[in-house]
Symmetry: C2
Subunit: 329 residues, 2 copies
């Protein structure tokens, strides 16, 4: 690990989509807009604002159009949204979405379980979405799930993953996100797959998306950086991303990852105190404790007061000789 001096990283926030879609409480539209606007000023390269999925399928994000229409667009920030199909694409275009994020899984069983289609069917449907985006001159990113393993199938072959990347690249997508959907990735695996993807697709914007399910979210982030990845998805507070229990870890938490990266000297462009403040807002919106850690423990140099009787402790200690015979308990 060489430290990050001079290495610029680009951060994508996914809490308002990947996070909110998992919450049992409906976050009011006004609060969503206010949060996105707050996040817009914190240095993100991209914010995944919402999803243009069927409101029946994901009622938590049924207000996608209104949110997208009413947020304040910061220059330099890409406001993206999940687009599952042509109907979603039309809604996204009508809402002036900067980028389509489309999703399928590298695992057949996971794709069937999650999207109720074979991967070939998903690919055919997404090809139509890509064609629509192209016509409208809107860039497309593909979030490829389960590239580091499938919770039902187990290992997923790297060659199969790269094969799907290639097929999407051939359709002219701008970027691919390699998603560790259920926290199965480990550092050496991350390096191998990321390095292979970087070498084979130098023209694609590659993003990594990690979960902290097995406590490896931060170490996997460092592994991906070492392999050359510069773009990362993260979720404020660590919400969303299929945690196995409330309060358990799903997505890596933005504030935890940024805190580490800044300590290591990476240039993230992010405002950490602003993130911690936003995490406080988020916790009130979702009405449960956040799984993130720096939001509670604070940055590493946050000072704590010594014990209340510290002056007495010092006075008593100073009254003793350095020789400690009288100190034996």
């Amino acid at each position: 690990m060489n430290g990050g001096r001079g290495t610029r990283l680009f951060i994508n926030e996914v809490a308002t989509r990947d996070g909110f879609q998992m919450e049992s409480r409906f976050v009011p539209t006004e609060d969503k807009i206010a949060l996105v606007d707050k996040l817009g000023g914190l240095g993100y390269a991209k914010i995944e604002v919402t999803s243009f999925t069927s409101p029946k399928a994901i009622p938590a994000l049924r207000d996608g159009e209104e949110v997208m229409h009413r947020i304040a667009r910061r220059p330099g920030v890409v406001y993206t949204a999940l687009v599952p199909n042509l109907r979603g694409g039309e809604r996204a275009l009508e809402s002036r979405t900067d980028e389509f994020n489309i999703v399928m899984s590298a695992s057949e069983t996971h794709n069937l379980s999650n999207l109720r289609m074979t991967r070939e069917q998903s690919f055919a449907q997404l090809a139509e979405v890509i064609a629509l985006a192209k016509q409208a001159k809107v860039p497309v990113n593909v979030s490829l799930s389960c590239v580091f393993g499938c919770p039902m199938e187990g290992e997923v072959a790297p060659d199969a993953v790269l094969g799907w990347v290639e097929r999407f690249a051939a359709l002219g997508v701008a970027g691919i996100t390699l998603c560790d959907t259920t926290g199965m990735a480990y550092p050496t695996q991350v390096q191998t797959l990321c390095a292979a993807a970087m070498a084979r697709f130098p023209g694609l914007e590659l993003t990594a998306h990690f979960h902290n399910t097995r406590a490896m979210g931060l170490v996997n982030t460092v592994a991906a950086i070492e392999a050359g990845i510069r773009r990362f998805d993260m979720s404020l507070g660590g919400i969303g991303g299929c945690p196995y229990a409330p309060g358990a870890s799903g997505n890596v938490a933005t504030e935890d990852v940024i805190h580490m990266l800044q300590c290591m000297g990476y240039e993230t462009g992010m405002d950490l105190p602003g993130l911690l403040d936003a995490a406080g807002v988020l916790e009130r919106l979702v009405e449960h404790p956040l799984p993130s850690q720096v939001s509670r423990a604070g940055p590493r140099l946050r000072r704590h007061a010594p014990p209340a009787d510290f002056e007495q402790i010092v006075a008593r200690a100073n009254a003793r000789r350095p020789d400690t015979k009288e100190l034996r308990a």
Copy 2:
């Protein structure tokens, strides 16, 4: 990160001392003995069994002698205990403790707050303990707290840390543990300090002790390995080590770290299924959820069943043409 093929690591368990001393429930003596005996068969190099502190100061470990006397000693496992002073040293010797683990802080404010002595007073007292151990031919390890930062003072100068290591080395101790007592360490800092300590004290057994307070416990472990450290403290279930809230992270969890290291190919000698089983026992003893993650999520290749209606999903998907016009939501 090069992966660990051929690199042997040595694991020290601290849950029964560092963990139990923080628990509000008194773990019955029989249960402590049974747990240590279970852990003894899982591949640890060392187990910190208990503390010979005043029973009034740490009532949770008031049964130190009985536990130490009654555990089954596995050949090859070092059964160590915390020894704060000469009286503790006498109790430890009488209980046939294999090693004394003595503790002081690299930070003056932390040492005063925690041990109620100046560092010089601690050093003088510990020098007496070291002399006692030498006489009895028992090796001594020094756990040096706050070497990566102090929650009250902030940064702790690496030169000051290495100065304390040198003074203990001059007294003939066998090993030093570099402790990140409140989770302030970050990877590049870990590498710098560990590499400096390795270079300056080639004759000392150096151990690293990390907390996961700010989610960096696993990445710091990898950083320390890259700097040449081969010995690590960990706590089953992640218990103990001053977590800032119940269920929050203190010590790195043995099962989380071992899971990662085994994925990366390191030789830990540890039995992961046995650890997960022991974590289940531990959770029943402490009567609260463990902060560790692999104990709940399972190893990365644990298979989950697909949805209950998976066969119908597949049948419906197969009945469609790959062309997806009829799938539009």
